[in-house]
Amino acid sequence: MYVVECKGLRKRYGKGKLAIENLNIQLESGRIIGLLGPNGCGKTTFMKILTGLLVPTEGDIFVCGQPRSEATNNFISYLPERTYIGGRKKISAMLDYFEEFYPDFDKVKAYKMLESLNLDPDSHISSLSKGNREKVQLILVMARNAQIYLLDEPIAGVDPAAREFILRTIVSNLNPGATVLISTHLIQDVEPVLDEFIFVNYGGNIIGRGTASELMEAEGKTVDQKFREVFRYA
C-alpha cells in the first residue's frame, strides 16, 4: 500500500492556467523524498491539496489507502512555508492545542525538543523572533508520530547552522516507517538526508525520479548537479 497515491490530479486556480495538469504519483512508506522543482511548478499546490487546504479541480487522492478527507489529516503532519502561530498564546498552550486535536502528538518529545533549542515553554509566541516561531512550528510538526510529514521549504530563510539543526531534528524525530516529503530549493543541504528525489516541472509534471546513489552510479552526478542540468535557464 502506498502512503500517498494520486491519479489524474488537476488543479486550476479560478479561470487561470492549470497549476497541476495531470499528476499521477505514488509515494512509498519509510522514505525521505525530496520534491524538487523550479518556483511555481506546483510543489506547494500538491502539498496543500494533500492536506485539504486546496480543493482539487479533478482527480483522485488516497492517503494511507483512504480517499482524502479531514480524517486523513490524522495521518499527515504538515509544515507550511508560512508561519501560522502567533498571538498572545504561550508555547505550552500550542502544545496543549496539538495534543488535544492530534492523538499522535507526543508532548514529552515536544518538550525535549524545546529544551534542546533553549526555548521556554512559558514564552509568549508574540515575543519570539520569526526564526524561533519557525522552530516552534517545526517542533509542533515533528512531535507528532504521523505517517506522512509534508515539509514545505523547512530550511528556507535560515542560516546554514540552523539548517543543519533543522534537518537533524527532522531525521532524528521521525516516526519509524513514516514518509517525509520535503519541498526545497536548497538541494545541497537536504541531499545527504534524502532517500529519493522527484523532479517536478511546470504544471506538476514529473520529469525525473530516483535515488541519489543510483544517480551517482549511473551519471556520476549529485542530485544538485542534476537539478541544475535539468532546469538550466536558456
Binding site: 486556480y13 496543500k48 492536506t51 485539504g52 487546504l53 486546496l54 480543493v55 478527507s69 479531514e70 480524517a71 489529516n73 490524522n74 499527515i76 504538515y78 507550511p80 508560512r82 508561519t83 501560522y84 502561530i85 502567533g86 492545542y97 488535544e100 486535536f101 492530534y102
Partner: protein, 281 residues
Amino acid sequence: MRKMLKHDLKAIWPVWRIVAPIVVVLAALAGVVVGIGYSDYEIFDSVYWLFRITALLIDTYWYLILSAFSMLVTVLIVVRYYKNFFTDEGYLTFTLPVSRTKLLNSKILMALIWISATLAVCILAALAYSFAYELTLSSSGYMGDIFEDTIEDSVESAFSSQDIHILLFVLEVLYLAAAWLVSNLLLLLLCITVGAVIVKRAKLVLGLGIYYGANAVIVGIFYTGIIVGIILISSAPEISEEAVMYMFHAVFLMGGALFSALGVGAYLLNKKLINKHLNLP
C-alpha cells in the same frame, strides 16, 4: 466540534469577562448620577446645575455603553472568524482533522453563545441602571414610573386580558427579533467569506462592505413592506379591528419567515463556499 467550540469560547472570554462587569457597573453608576441629577438633595445645591446637565447627558446617551459593548463583541467574533479561516492561521485550522462544516458550525455556535451572553449582560445593565436610578431618586421618579407601568401594563394585558392577540404579538416579536439577529450574524459571516474568496487583498474590508450593502437592501425591503402594509390596511374600507390584528400577525410572521429564510440561505451558501471554493493563498 466540542474541542473547537471550547477553544473558540476561550479566545473571547479573557476580554469579555473584564468588559462585561465594567458595563454593568458603569450602567449602575450612570443610574446613580441620573438619579441624583433629577433629585433635589441639599448637599449638592452648589453644583446642582452640573449634576442636572450631567444627568441629562447620561440619561440620553448611557445606552451607548451597551452599544459599544455589543460592537466590541461583534468585532471580536468577526476578527476571530476572519483570522482563523482566511489568514495564515487557516493553515492550522484547515489542516486539523475536523471537517470544514464542523469548523463553520463551531464559529456560528460560538458567535451565538457570545451574542446571547452579551444580550443578557445588556439586559442586566439596563436593570442595574433602573435599579440604581430608583434607589438614588429622592422622590417618586418619572422614568421609573414609566418603566414599571409599561412592564406591568404589558404583562397584565397579555395574561389577564381575554384577548390573546397581545400574547401572540409578544411571541411574534421575540421570533422576529431572534430570526433577525441570527440571520444578520449568518449574513455577516457569509459576506466575510465572499470577500475572502473573491479577492486577494483587503478581504475583510470588502466583506464588510458587501455586508453593509446587503443589509441596507434587506432593511430597505423590510421597511418598504411594512409601510406598504400599513398604507393598505389604513386605506382599506370598512375593515374590522379583528382583521387588522390578523394582518399585523401576518406581517410579523412574514418578517420572521423572511429573516429565517435569509439565515438558512446565508448558512448554506457559506458552507458551500468554504467547502468547495476556499483556497488559501
